[in-house]
Symmetry: C2
Subunit: 494 residues, 2 copies
C-alpha cells in the first residue's frame, strides 16, 4: 500500500501532523523531513532489511527517524533509555543493529553499549543537521508484511526478547482502535509515554494513518502534561495509571482540561479507586489491556462502562479474539480463571531470532500471554494477574528473574527472590529477599550499588532484606506469596 | 479476514446495528438473522461464486440479505427499483442471476423481468418467514478479494455496465472515509439513499465495519428524514443535493436537528447557493465527489472549508490518488481542465463480463472517469462537468444515449438528442429534441407513452420538442449546447 505519511501529505498537506516544543509540523513538512532523513540513512549504506536501533527520549527527531526507516524498509529497534549499557549491549547484539541513533543526553550510555559490539553511534542532532541539506528520498510502496519494529519485552527467562511487529500489525491495531475509541479529524493525541514502548510508538503510527496530530511530551511530569493538554487542545491522551494518579493528585481541585474526550489507560491494572476518582472528576477514562506482542490494545472498555465495571478491561477490539485457557490449553467457560490467549491481525510476527520462544508463545495462531484472567457473562475481559511473576511499576514491566539474576551475580549472594509489593502511586514496587553465602557478607546498600551497574533504575529493588532462608512451598519451590508477606512487613528498606 | 458482522457481534453484541421502522436490531440480533438467511439461501442450492439480484426498497430484509450473501461468498446485484421490466431483464441477464429477491411492491416488475430469463423470484417477506426457523449458518472467513456486489452504472454506450466491487474496495472506502469524516462509537448514519446505489450500500457495510448503527429510510420525504434524524438522534446523513434542497426548503425557519454532526453530500454537483443556505442554517455539510466505480467517495471537503470554497469537492481521501489528464492522457498542471482519473484501493475490479469496457476504463491502474475537472493550487479538486453527456437529476445518473435509443426505437423518430436542462430543485432535468421521419407522425404525448414502457420514470424526458432538424457543429456533429439553448427557450413541455 501507499506509504502512510506521503499519503497524508498528499491528502492533507497543511494539517498538523506533529506538535512538540511549541512547534507544529504539518504533514507536508513531516513528509519532507522524513525524506531527508531517509536520504541521509541511505547515504550511510543502509538498505531494506537492516535494523537501526534508537536510544532517544520523546523528541521530534525520533518521529523523523520512525518515518524515514519506514520509507526505506529498515526495521527500527527502539531501546529503553532507562537501561544500563550492559542491558543495551545485549539488545544491540540480539538485533545486530547496523547503527544506533542516540542524542546528547544518551550518548554516553549509547557509546558504552555500542562500542563493544562495533555498532556505529550517530547523534540525532547531527543527523538532523546533515539530513536537511539532502534532497529527500521519494516514498515507496509500504509492505504490510514488513517488520516495522523489534520491541524488547522481558520474558520469564529474564533475558529480554524482541517482539517483531509489522506495519500490518500497526495498521490493524490503529483501525480497530479507531472503531472502538472513535476518531475525529480534529483529534490531537498527547503522548507522554516513551516512544520505545509500544503504547507510545503506536500513537505516532496511528495518528499518521488517521491524518491526525500527535503531541510529544518528553518525560512525564503531571503539571507539564496538563499544560500541554491545555495549550494544544489535546483530545486524547494515553497514560499508565500511575500517571493519571499523579495528575489527579497534583491538581485535586480541578477537573482535567475540557478538550480531552478520552484518556486511554493501559500498561498496568487500573484500581477501582482511581476509576472512581476519574468519574468524580468527569474524566472520560477508557481502560485497556494490551501487550507488546499484540501491538498494544487487545481489549478496551470505554466510559461510562469503565466506571460501572471497575477492574474490567472490556471486550476485545474488533477482529481480535480472546479466549481463556485452562492448564491443558482448553477453552474455559465464562467466569473461570485461566490464561488469556489472543488471536488476530495485531499479533506479532514472532520473537526475533528466537524460534523456541516464538513457538512457545504462538501456538496455532494464538498468542499465549501468560496473563491470568476471565471473561464474564457479558463477554468482558477481567485481568486477574499479569504473567504470574511479572511486576508492573509505573507502567514499566519488570521480570523478577532478571533482577534475581543480577543479585545472584554478586559473589556473596546464594539465593534471591524478587516480588512486587503494592504501591498506591506506582501500582507495584520491586522488593527483594536475599540469602547470603555463609562465608561471605555484603550490606544491602553495597548489593544495590552492585545491581545498579547491571539494571535500569526502575528495575532496582526499592526494598531489600537479607534473610536466613527463603520460605518454601510443600513441593520445595520458593513460596513467593510468603516472600511478599515477609517483605511487606519489613522495615528494612534500602 | 474475519467476517465483519460476526466480528462486531463478538466485540459488541448489544450495540445497535440497524434501526428501521421504529425497531432496533443489535449486532447480536443482526448476526443471527444474517446466519438464518444464509441458511435459507444455502438450502436453495446457492453457493459461493453465484450472483443473487435484489429488487427491494430500503427495508431491513435488504440488510439481512446483504450480510447473508457476504457470509456465503455470493455476489449481490442490487437493481434499481425505478427501472422498467425491460431494463431489469437486461441486467438480470448480464449477471446471470441465480435468484431475484423482490418484495410485495416490486413483485410484478420482478416477475415480468425475471420470467423471460428463467430466473427464480422469491419474496423477501417469505424468505424472512422461513429463514427464522432455520439454524444459522456459521460465519466464515471473508476474502477481501471476493466480489461483494455488481452495481449497474450506465455508460456512454447507453447499455448499463455492472461495476464489480470487492469487499476490499468497501473496506478501504470505509477506512479512508472514517479518517476523513471521523467516526464515533455513538454514530448513527441515516440512509435515505437507496441501497441499490453505492452511496446507500456503502452506509450498511461501513457502519458494520465501524460497529456503529445504520438507520434506514424507505423512500425520501423531507419531513420524514427530519423526523428520523430527531427520533433516532442520527449523527450522520448521506444526501444528494436535491434532498438537502428539499429538506431546507420544507422547514425554512428551522435549523436541522442538532444531533447531526455531518451531512455528506454527493451524487451530483452542489450549488454554491445550497452551500450558502447550509452555512446560514448551521448545517455542517461535507461535499464529496464519487462514483460507483470507485466505491463511492473519491474526494470530500469538510465544513467550514466547504463553505469557503463552494464548488470544490476537496482533496482525495487518503490512499486514493487523483490526477487530471489532458486529451493525450498526460497529467495536466494545476488549474488546467482535463479528465479526472482515479487510482487506489477503492477502484472497482472491472465491469462484469465486459473486458473491452474494463480495459477502456482502467488504464495502467487508473480509472478514467470521463468527468471533467481540475486541481487548484491547494490540491483541491473541482468538478467542472460530469462525463460530458451525463445528466444528473435528483441524484440519479441518466445517460442521453440510453434515452435517445428509446426514442429512436419508435418507428416515427428519425433523430433524437437528449440533454439536461438546469433545475433548481433537481439539479438537471431531462429534455429531448426529436426529428420525425417525413412520412410518419407522432405527438409528444404518444412518444412519451412509448418510452415509458422502456425507461424508468426518472429517465423520461420532462420536456420534449419536435423539431425540423437538429443544430449541427461545423464538423457535422450534433451541437448539444445549441440543443440545450433551443429546449431551454421552448415552452413545449410534455
Amino acid at each position: 500500500m501507499q506509504d502512510w505519511l506521503s499519503a497524508q501529505a498528499a491528502a492533507q498537506p497543511d494539517r498538523p501532523a506533529l506538535i512538540a516544543d511549541e512547534r507544529v509540523w504539518t504533514y507536508a513538512e513531516l513528509e519532507s523531513l522524513a525524506g531527508c532523513w531517509a536520504a541521509f540513512l541511505s547515504a550511510q549504506g543502509l538498505a531494506a532489511g537492516r535494523v537501526v536501533a534508537a536510544l532517544l527520549p520523546n523528541r521530534v527527531e525520533y518521529v523523523f527517524l520512525i518515518h524515514a526507516l519506514a520509507r526505506l524498509g529498515i526495521t527500527l529497534s527502539p531501546l529503553n533509555t532507562r537501561l544500563t549499557p550492559h542491558e543495551l549491549g545485549d539488545q544491540l547484539q540480539q538485533v545486530n543493529a547496523a547503527l544506533l541513533i542516540a542524542c546528547e543526553e544518551t550518548e554516553t550510555a549509547a557509546r558504552r553499549a555500542a562500542e563493544p559490539m562495533g555498532t556505529r553511534v550517530l547523534l540525532a542532532e547531527a543527523v538532523a543537521h546533515q539530513a536537511e541539506r539532502l534532497p529527500p528520498t521519494p516514498p515507496q510502496e509500504l509492505a504490510l508484511t514488513a517488520t516495522q519494529a523489534i520491541l524488547f519485552t522481558s520474558g520469564t527467562s529474564g533475558r529480554p526478547k524482541g517482539a517483531r511487529l509489522s506495519f500490518g500489525n500497526h495498521f490493524w491495531s490503529a483501525t480497530a482502535s479507531a472503531f472502538r475509541l472513535g476518531i475525529l479529524p480534529s483529534d490531537r493525541w498527547l503522548c507522554p509515554l516513551p516512544l520505545y514502548h509500544v503504547g507510545g510508538l503506536a500513537i505516532v503510527l496511528r495518528s499518521c494513518l488517521y491524518g491526525t496530530a500527535a503531541i510529544l511530551q518528553e518525560g512525564f511530569e503531571p503539571g507539564r502534561t496538563l499544560e500541554l493538554i491545555e495549550r494544544h487542545r489535546a483530545s486524547l491522551v494515553s497514560l499508565v495509571p500511575t500517571m493519571l494518579h499523579r495528575m489527579l493528585g497534583a491538581h485535586p481541585e480541578h477537573s482535567l482540561p475540557e478538550s480531552i474526550r478520552l484518556a486511554l489507560l493501559g500498561g498496568a491494572a487500573t484500581s477501582p479507586e482511581l476509576m472512581q476518582t476519574a468519574e468524580q472528576r468527569n474524566l472520560p477514562a477508557a481502560v485497556s489491556y494490551g501487550l507488546t506482542e499484540a501491538c498494544s490494545q487487545v481489549a478496551t472498555l470505554l466510559a461510562p462502562a469503565s466506571y460501572r465495571k471497575p477492574g474490567s478491561v472490556g471486550r476485545p477490539l474488533v477482529f481480535t479474539e480472546v479466549q481463556i485457557r485452562d492448564v491443558e490449553d482448553r477453552p474455559a467457560p465464562p467466569g473461570v480463571y485461566g490464561e488469556i490467549v489472543v488471536r488476530g491481525p495485531t499479533v506479532m510476527q514472532g520473537y526475533h531470532n528466537d524460534p523456541q520462544a516464538t513457538v512457545q508463545a504462538l501456538r496455532a495462531g494464538w498468542l499465549h500471554t501468560g496473563d491470568i484472567g476471565y471473561l464474564d457473562d457479558e463477554g468482558d475481559l477481567w485481568l486477574v494477574q499479569r504473567r504470574s511473576d511479572l511486576i508492573v511499576s509505573g507502567g514499566e514491566n519488570i521480570y523478577p528473574a532478571e533482577v534475581e539474576a543480577a543479585l545472584k551475580a554478586h559473589p556473596a549472594v546464594a539465593e534471591a527472590c524478587v516480588v512486587g509489593l503494592p504501591s498506591a502511586e506506582w501500582g507495584q514496587q520491586v522488593a527483594a529477599a536475599v540469602v547470603l553465602r555463609p562465608d561471605l557478607s555484603v550490606t544491602p546498600d553495597e548489593l544495590l550499588a552492585f545491581t545498579r551497574q547491571r539494571l535500569a533504575g526502575y528495575k532496582q529493588p526499592r526494598r531489600l532484606r537479607l534473610v536466613a532462608s527463603l520460605p518454601q512451598t510443600a513441593s520445595g519451590k520458593i513460596h513467593r506469596a510468603a516472600v511478599v508477606d515477609l517483605l511487606a512487613q519489613s522495615d528494612h528498606a534500602d
